[in-house]
C-alpha cells in the first residue's frame, strides 16, 4: 500500500468515525434528558460533523477522482465505511451514550493532539482545530460519567452496565490496520500503542472518580476498519442517506 492509498483510507476513517458518532449523538436532538443537555449534545454532534467534513473533503482530494465530501458521506455503502464499531452502536439510554462518548473521546483527544504534530500539513491543520473541540467533548463526557457513576444506585448500575457492554469495542481503536501502519512509518499518523497508554490513563483516572470498575480485557470486536460492520450501521446510513439516495444531486 502506497502512502497515498493509506492516506486516503486514513482520512476516510477519521471522517467516518466523526460522522457516524456525530449522527448518533444528533439522534438526541429534541429528546435530551434536559433542555441544556439536549443543546450540549447537539453542539458536540455539530463539532463532529464539522470534523467529518474536513476529513472527507481531504480524502476526496487525496483520492483525486472528483468525489466531494457529500459524495463520500451520502453515496458510499455500509461496506465502504471504515469507522470503528464503537461509534456506530445505537445511542441507548443516556448513560450508554455518555460511556460510549467517553471511551471514544479519551482516544480521540490524544489522537488529534498527535496528528497536530504530524508530518501531513492538512491533517495537522484539521487536528489543530479539532483538539479544542475534542478537549471539551472529553470534559463533558467525563463529568457526566462521574455524575452517573458516583450518583444514585440506579445511575451507577446503568453506567457500569454500559461500560461492561461497550468495553469489547475498545480494542479495535488501538489495533492498527495496514493504512495506519504505513502512515505511522511515514510519521504522519501516531503509533496506536502510544495513544492507548494515554487512553488507559484517562480511563483509569475518570473511572476511579466515578467509582466504576474497569472491565477486564476479554474478546474484542473488530472489522469496522475494513468495512465489516455491526448490524446497526446499515439502518443508520439508510436514514442518513435517504434524501440523496431518493433525489440524487438534490441541494438545499
Amino acid at each position: 500500500m502506497t502512502v497515498q492509498e493509506a492516506l486516503f483510507r486514513y482520512a476516510l476513517r477519521l471522517g467516518d468515525n466523526s460522522l457516524v458518532l456525530g449522527h448518533r449523538n444528533s439522534e438526541w436532538c429534541g429528546h435530551g434528558p434536559v433542555l441544556e443537555e439536549d443543546i450540549a449534545q447537539a453542539n458536540i454532534a455539530l463539532d463532529l460533523i464539522g470534523q467529518a467534513r474536513n476529513y472527507l473533503t481531504y480524502a476526496g482530494e487525496v483520492e483525486d477522482k472528483g468525489r466531494s465530501e457529500d459524495a463520500l458521506a451520502y453515496l458510499r455503502g455500509e461496506r465502504e465505511y471504515l469507522n470503528v464499531h464503537l461509534v456506530e452502536l445505537p445511542k441507548g439510554d443516556y448513560a450508554r451514550t455518555i460511556v460510549r462518548s467517553f471511551l471514544f473521546d479519551a482516544f480521540h483527544l490524544p489522537l488529534q493532539q498527535a496528528l497536530a504534530t504530524g508530518k501531513d500539513e492538512r491533517l495537522k491543520g484539521i487536528a489543530e482545530k479539532a483538539v479544542k473541540e475534542v478537549t471539551y467533548h472529553l470534559r463533558h463526557s467525563s463529568e457526566w460519567l462521574v455524575r452517573f457513576g458516583d450518583g444514585t444506585d440506579e445511575s451507577h448500575r446503568r453506567a457500569q452496565e454500559a461500560l461492561d457492554d461497550l468495553w469489547r469495542y475498545t480494542g479495535e481503536l488501538f489495533t492498527p490496520d495496514e493504512a495506519e501502519e504505513v502512515l505511522a512509518q511515514a510519521g504522519i499518523a501516531p503509533k496506536l500503542d502510544t495513544i492507548r497508554m494515554e487512553w488507559s490513563a484517562t480511563v483509569d483516572r475518570v473511572l476511579k472518580e466515578a467509582t466504576l470498575t474497569r472491565p477486564a480485557d476479554g474478546w474484542m470486536a473488530s472489522g469496522g476498519k475494513k468495512g465489516v460492520h455491526t448490524e446497526h450501521l446499515g439502518p443508520m446510513l439508510a436514514e442518513m442517506q435517504t434524501l440523496q439516495r431518493s433525489y440524487p444531486g438534490v441541494e438545499w
Binding site: 434536559v34 433542555l35 443537555e37 450540549a40 463529568e143 455524575r147
Partner: protein
C-alpha cells in the same frame, strides 16, 4: 424537562462578557445541578455563536431585587433633579465618547 427536574435542579442566572474590558451582561437563565454544570451549560446554551469569552453563573435565589411596589419611593425622586446630570457646562470641541 419535567417539573421534577425543575425542583431538583436550581435555576441559575447567566452573565456573559462579550469582549475583554466590557461588563458581563445578563443573557438568560438555565437549570443545573451545581456551579460547574451551570457554567458548562451556559457555554453550550449561550455562547454557541461567538457571544462571549467569559461566563458568570449566579444562583437565581442569591439575587435580591427591588420590588415593583417600591418603584415610586426608589426612583421617582430622581425625576426632578436635572442638576444631577452633568449637562450644565459647555462641551469643548473635539471631546469624544461622552
Amino acid at each position: 424537562m419535567s417539573s421534577k427536574n425543575e425542583q431538583d435542579w436550581p435555576l441559575w442566572e447567566i452573565f456573559i462578557q462579550s469582549k475583554r474590558g466590557l461588563d458581563h451582561k445578563h443573557v438568560g437563565s438555565l437549570h443545573a445541578a451545581d456551579a460547574q454544570m451551570a457554567v458548562e451549560n451556559a457555554r453550550d446554551v449561550y455562547t454557541r455563536r461567538n457571544e462571549g469569552n467569559s461566563i458568570w453563573a449566579v444562583r437565581a435565589t442569591d439575587i435580591h431585587a427591588s420590588r415593583p411596589e417600591d418603584q415610586g419611593a426608589f426612583f421617582d425622586p430622581a425625576d426632578d433633579k436635572v442638576y444631577r446630570h452633568p449637562t450644565f457646562y459647555p462641551m469643548p470641541e473635539g471631546v469624544k465618547y461622552i
